[in-house]
Symmetry: none
Subunit: 161 residues, 2 copies
DNA sequence: ACTAAAATCATACTTTAGTATGACCAAAAA
DNA sequence: TTTTTGGTCATACTAAAGTATGATTTTAGT
């Protein structure tokens, strides 16, 4: 019922307006009989009323033009990019700072691979004594006591791997 | 042509109506002179004409109503996110596969930090013997001979760090 | 309740790692 | 030229690391 009223609101309003106008018309017609020579005024009033009604109707009934406004909405999509965290700028500065020589670095690298002093010696074609000397100096320079510590620290300082 | 007719249907209809109305007016005016008491019809005609004029005026003179429709356009912005290559799924499967116990893993981790057997023993409140037993079993399970190898292999298998 | 695995401790031993010290040589820097 | 630095080798020693073997105690699963 309410929906019906809402949907036909315009029609209802129009009907009501028509009723009021007809009433006014009748009243004016009566007045017209009493006052002569006011025919032009009566016509004028009718004209004004109906023109106003027309304007009102037109304004109410025209469909609005649809203007489409495009609003750009940013959507951030996180794209995972796999990047090596370890940069390959093998810290040569650190090597210099610590005064680690090329040969010592070699020994350090082989140590980190899990080789024993003997294996390193064989690989580098030198005696085990030499490797021991190197490693001792390395530990001094790295300020550590054991090879495992040396490996850990060297990796931490980006000297190896 | 059909599209044009459809679009200007209202205007065409209006023109047609006006033509018919003018004709009717002239005819009714003539009838009004001849036939008295047709005053109401004349008024009605006037009303219709002016209402139509009002509608026409309203349509012509008013600015078109604009209904703004906002359409959101999605713009995809790719944001690069740096991700670690090393995933943190600490290889529990590998641990199980190798049969490495929790305690052994602890020892392995402390080893990798460069601690000696004695230091590990102190840290875990056990004797050095225990640590030696653990490490021996670890080396067996990891199929290595030295702690440095164990550390290297464990890191490679993502068991530690 | 029983069993198996895990964790602990211990002794005895071997191997490797690491220290201290010194010597030799070659290349580069002062 | 002399000195420094890096690399080499050696002896002697100490300190760790690692092995072998065995035993006891927890802990968790059947």
């Amino acid at each position: 019922m309410v929906a019906f009223l809402t949907r036909h609101k315009m029609i209802m309003l129009y009907g009501l307006s028509m009723a009021i106008l007809l009433f006014l018309l009748k009243w004016l017609e009566y007045r017209f009989i009493l006052i002569s020579h006011s025919f032009e005024i009566y016509i004028g009033i009718i004209a004004v009323i109906f023109m106003t009604l027309g304007i009102w109707l037109a304004l109410k009934l025209t469909k609005p033009k649809i203007k489409t406004v495009v609003v750009e909405k940013e959507i951030v999509i996180e794209k995972e990019v796999i990047v090596n965290t370890k940069d390959f700028t093998f810290n040569e500065k650190e090597l210099e700072k610590l005064g680690i020589s090329q040969r010592e670095l070699e020994v350090l690298q082989l140590m980190a691979q899990g080789l024993s002093n003997n294996e390193i010696a064989e690989k580098l074609f030198v005696s085990t004594h030499t490797i021991k000397t190197h490693s001792s100096k390395l530990f001094e320079k790295l300020d550590v006591k054991r090879r495992t510590q040396a490996i850990e620290k060297a990796k931490r300082l980006n000297i190896i791997q």
